[in-house]
Symmetry: C2
Subunit: 459 residues, 2 copies
């Protein structure tokens, strides 16, 4: 039966693409209230699609953006089929800076075999692979091979602020699942599909420094009162040492490195550093001394400034002494680092660095631990087989530098493990202008999802 499903998937490429475009054109930017109607519309779009498959679909309201929960009716799957949970998100990152997009972020556009739009890869495009696979199974087999629950949220890009509550409110239902499937990660490289077995965590802060009540003339007052912009650079500029290590006391205390055997496997992956440098457009790689580029991304914690704002930012020279300066600063955490301990260490560090002439306000916007998953479970074996069917090649086991906080919550709240099976590519421009998803990845992803459901039906 899977063979017929795969043939039908190939026959309907144009239809899948048209459907995905509709979803991508809905500007579901969860961080921006002005887009709340769009975010709601993107949820509705998914609900309608899932109803088309034949699932029972509920809209679960939250104080911000709704979740979608779809379950498989008894008559739509074989008796005794295993229960599996699929998680994805329908919200997207803000598209700014808009002027850097070649085609508008919410007018999905195909160029050179890729579809460009905000959310194309993160995560609508990857979620859609599963929706399409379900549709194909339903159309060809009249049923789907397993008792699937689909849970989609609309707040992943703003820290999944209500998802834990939603999981808790539906814990009896959700904990019937034997495993969690997530497609919100990448292949290792084009033609090298991968299963992701580890994710970094995230602690994110907004930092505000203020001094005078208003902006001042930098000639009249410069040198006599603290300049928050000067102070901000002095404080943040001390958060790394000369070896690229994070200079926050205790930051590395709990870090656990992967086993030597894993690091050796990674060293053998076909990673082309010259190509990496060329693709990103950087002068060279750069980072913590003593670690490879893959290790720096996969198993080392970081501290990065995500935004800086102060004073005059327009054209030309304005001789202003800014009254405030702010920064967004985030830390990526690795396994065994505790977000609260790291937060405490970070806040203490800034309090020590702060001179007396300014006021400091710290707001924590996010705190998620890292995640690692097992490699040798039946579900991972099924996923590996599915990737081989979908992409024609057996996958490698890798980690990912980004975070999928919910993976931790599902483990904590439901006690289930995750299978992170990503269809994206490293150059998909996630969270950046010109985000894209290769059509090749889209169609291989749909095939893989179809095969995965087939294989998981037998575990």
């Amino acid at each position: 039966m899977l063979d017929s499903v795969l043939v039908w998937i190939e026959k309907n490429r144009r239809a899948w693409l048209d459907d995905l475009k509709q979803w991508l054109n809905i500007a579901s930017v969860s961080a921006v209230s002005a887009h709340d109607n769009d975010t709601a519309a993107a949820a509705e779009w998914a609900m309608s699609y899932l109803r088309g498959v034949g699932l029972n679909v509920r809209r679960i309201a939250t104080p911000r953006h709704p979740c979608v929960l779809a379950t498989t009716p008894d008559d739509l799957c074989p008796p005794g089929a295993p229960t599996i949970l699929f998680y994805g998100h329908y919200d997207v990152q803000p598209p700014e800076p808009l002027e850097k997009w070649i085609s508008p972020p919410f007018t999905a556009t195909v160029r050179d075999g890729k579809i460009y739009a905000r959310g194309a890869s993160d995560d609508k495009g990857q979620v859609f692979c599963h929706l399409a696979a379900l549709m194909a199974w339903r159309q060809i087999a009249g049923e789907i091979p397993l008792r699937l629950m689909v849970l989609l949220e609309g707040e992943e890009e703003i820290g999944s602020i209500n998802l834990a509550d939603v999981i808790k409110d539906h814990v009896d239902e959700l904990k019937t699942a034997r495993v969690l499937i997530v497609s919100d990660s990448n292949q290792f490289a084009p033609g090298i599909p991968a299963i992701t077995t580890g994710l970094r965590g995230l602690v994110y802060y907004q930092i505000e420094l203020t001094a005078a009540a208003e902006d001042l003339h930098s000639g009249v007052y410069g040198g006599a009162v603290a300049n928050p912009a000067n102070v901000l650079t002095q404080m943040l500029g001390r958060l790394h040492d000369s070896q690229g290590r994070v200079a926050v006391d205790g930051f590395y205390d709990d870090v656990v490195l992967p086993e030597e055997s894993i690091r050796r496997q990674w060293a053998e992956l076909p990673f082309d550093e010259n190509e990496f440098v060329r693709r990103l457009g950087v002068p060279q790689v750069s980072g913590e001394a003593g670690f490879s580029t893959l290790e720096r991304r996969w198993c080392r914690p970081t501290l990065d400034i995500n935004g800086l704002t102060s004073g005059y930012q327009g054209p030309g020279a304005k001789t202003v002494l800014p009254c405030s300066a702010s920064a967004k600063v985030s830390m990526r955490l690795v396994p065994n680092q505790n977000p609260d301990r790291i937060s405490t260490a970070f806040e203490r560090c800034l309090a020590v660095l702060k001179p007396p002439g300014v006021r400091l306000t710290l707001t924590r916007l996010n705190a998620t631990p890292a995640a690692v998953t097992q490699i040798d479970s039946p579900a991972i074996t099924a996923a590996a087989a599915a990737l081989e069917i979908g992409f024609g090649k057996s996958p490698v086991f890798m980690r990912e530098g980004g975070s999928i906080p919910v993976v931790n919550w599902f483990k904590e709240l439901l006690g289930i493990d995750s299978v992170l099976i990503g269809f994206g590519l490293p150059d998909d421009n996630l969270h950046a202008p010109n985000e894209k998803f290769d059509l090749n990845c889209l169609y291989s992803g749909i095939r893989t999802a179809a095969a995965l459901y087939d294989r998981l039906g037998g575990i």
Copy 2:
């Protein structure tokens, strides 16, 4: 005759205020091209007013904003009257951040005896004191007591980029002046008029750091490529030492401190540091160790960040690794520091601090040396007498932290000294939201200008 002029000035308070409001309501922001028509209109307004006084008025075109040059016809001044040059500027700073203005920056509004508008004090309000005094002399005496040339420019806030050329083109005419009068500075404090005998210079840079071609996901790439925002803080954060001194090699090499006697005079000025702290809203004063607040502002060089820009600056958390980070950085110079030497030292310092993973672009936007003027000239004596008439109190001799670059050029190109006779107050919010000019200063300033022309007529 002066007495009659002063009486008439008092009688016409309402008219002066109405005239000044008209000028202030013209948004002559020289830095922003969208305001070019406004800037031209502000020049026209001044020309029309000067024609009303009876002067011969010319519009001198430049590649950017025009100068206004008005001269006194023979029949409008006594035979043998001395030739004096008055300089001012009709352009203003950008008004941003707009949301911090209580009344709109280009709708001049009187509250509590003060007129609020961008340019109220810097410099339209102060220039207007002179225009009004000329009008008063003409109305009451039928002539003005000296052969005055009025030169107004529209590019002071963007570095007076064409003024030197204008001076050179009219050097024969302008060099007939015996002294330059400038009102673009402050009184020492309310009720304490002052003559400013020194100004700091300015070197201003735009700094750009770039790494990747586009913004990247901070999870996927964080730790493996340079983050320009991190690097910017590391570089700029090292430009001061722990004593608040500028940590640029050679920065202090040429600094000349004022004589001990001058520093003692300053120490005796009625400067209330608690009031200063309270007025500015800062937690405390702050700056270079070993110097008083007045010294830090008047005779010590500084380095200040005027603006910072990088990455995501909107609400909430965006996990972006910015592809660029930029800053506006300026240095205030004191007598004997050479702007070109300081520029070279600064550029060398940043080149040394720059790590290999980023690209650095430096653009110098301004370079002006400091200025000091003599205290015991006939013109300064006349100015002191005029301030005593206008404000009812003899002035103190102070310095000013800001720059009036043109003062140097008039000295270099015409060989004439300046009299800096300012009517503003230290809390006028120059270059900041809610710029204002006390009506008391306005009327005292008009009286002072009228008296100054009387006294200068006799030197």
